[in-house]
């Protein structure tokens, strides 16, 4: 951790003085740190890439706000965190992710994908009624057939289809940005 701080800070000070080579390796390094930071918090590959790039641009255009008397990693972390909160807000996602790492854990190994996916799914399904929730889980997650679900729930097949369809529509309005795959 100490080494990361020292390495990045030295590169940043050289970059602010106009050293292009130092700046290129700083940004490479920063991109790697950011991929870890966002990767541990978000599941969607595209969102992670977007945030990494947006944060790199912010680091670039607001580099004058770095005070070389203070730690570089704290400055970078504050920007990354701000961009994450902004992303969560503008996508109306609930803030179920932890924003801060314990400083020494910032480079720790990522949580497994399926663990995150499960948490996210439960959070998302909070938005629909219990019936819709159970039907979505049965059809879309467990992969059971419409006929099977209809007979076990006592609903008609078309009622199951309509309920699932409405629930998905509601969820995509709530969370998605026009990414409805039916």
């Amino acid at each position: 951790m100490q080494q990361v701080e020292e390495r990045l800070k030295t590169l940043m000070v050289q970059s602010l003085a106009g050293d292009e080579r130092a700046y290129r390796s700083l940004l490479d390094d920063v991109a790697r740190q950011l991929r870890g930071y966002y990767g541990r918090r978000l599941r969607e590959r595209a969102a992670i890439d977007d945030l990494v790039q947006e944060t790199l641009i912010a680091v670039h255009s607001r580099r004058a706000t770095y005070d070389s008397g203070r730690p570089f990693t704290a400055w970078l972390h504050a920007i990354a965190r701000y961009k994450l909160i902004d992303y969560l807000r503008s996508n109306k996602l609930r803030e179920t992710v932890t924003l801060d790492d314990a400083p020494e854990a910032q480079l720790a190994s990522p949580v497994t994908e399926s663990e995150l996916a499960h948490q996210d799914l439960d959070t998302v399904l909070e938005e629909v009624s219990p019936l819709q929730k159970s039907l979505i889980k049965a059809v879309k997650v467990e992969g059971r057939s419409i006929a099977e679900v209809a007979s076990s729930s006592g609903l008609s097949q078309s009622a199951v289809k309509v309920t699932v369809h409405r629930a998905l529509k509601k969820l995509s309005q709530r969370f998605g940005r026009g990414q409805t795959h039916d």
Partner: protein, 220 residues
């Protein structure tokens, strides 16, 4: 399909950003903030000089403690606002120190106002508190704060504030206090109670306006 020959978008972004690198001065943040504030304050100062001019009794007033107390009050608040802006312009910035300076200045002024009233007969209390211009003074200070607030928000928008409400409040405090400083050149009220209530009130309103604007205009 990923084409192995085309560079990954993050790498080409880094390449582009690195090629745009220009050296950056250490003092860029404070310089830019002062520039924004000065630009706004110049507009307000011109408006004051054009509309009312310097108060006619200025030469005599310069030798009174009342004038210097009034100026010290607004200068302390302006300083607190400017340092708060410089602090909050950084993503990991705080403004604890400047906030205490502002609170301290307000407490000292409140105490002096109470002492002034206590030492005067109750018959003149109303004059000490309301002066001749209480109905216009705070609104003029607020109006004169608008150009300064615009300048300070423009400067703050190019920075990296992460606590937008606080950063906006800092812009409002600096703008309100600088506007009061400019206005005091034309205003001949000298009672401590008047300055505390009406100058202080206008500066508080400007600070609140900044806090309201912050999350709306400072996002980046």
């Amino acid at each position: 399909m990923i084409d192995p020959m085309s560079p990954n978008p993050t790498d080409s972004l880094i390449e582009r950003l690195a090629s745009e690198l220009k050296p950056t001065a250490r003092s860029a943040v404070s310089r830019f903030i002062c520039l924004g504030l000065m630009a706004g304050a110049c507009v307000s100062a011109l408006a004051v000089l054009w509309l009312w001019g310097v108060r006619p009794d200025m030469p005599a007033a310069l030798s009174t403690g009342a004038l210097w107390l009034k100026e010290s009050f607004v200068v302390a608040l302006a300083g607190a606002g400017i340092f708060a802006m410089i602090g909050l312009a950084r993503p990991d910035g705080t403004a604890g120190g400047p906030a205490w300076i502002a609170i301290g200045a307000a407490c000292v002024m409140a105490l002096l106002a109470v002492l002034e009233l206590a030492g005067a007969p109750p018959a003149v209390w109303k004059t000490l508190m309301m002066g001749k211009t209480w109905a216009t003074c705070p609104w003029l200070i607020l109006a004169l704060a608008v150009p300064v607030l615009i300048g300070s928000i423009c400067a703050m928008r190019s920075m990296a504030p992460t606590r937008l409400r606080l950063a906006g409040a800092a812009c409002g405090l600096a703008s309100g206090a600088l506007s009061a400083l400019v206005y005091s050149v034309a205003c001949d009220e000298s009672a401590v109670a008047f300055v505390f209530i009406w100058y202080g009130g206008a500066i508080v309103l400007a600070t609140l306006a900044g806090a309201w604007l912050g999350p709306r205009v400072l996002r980046w």
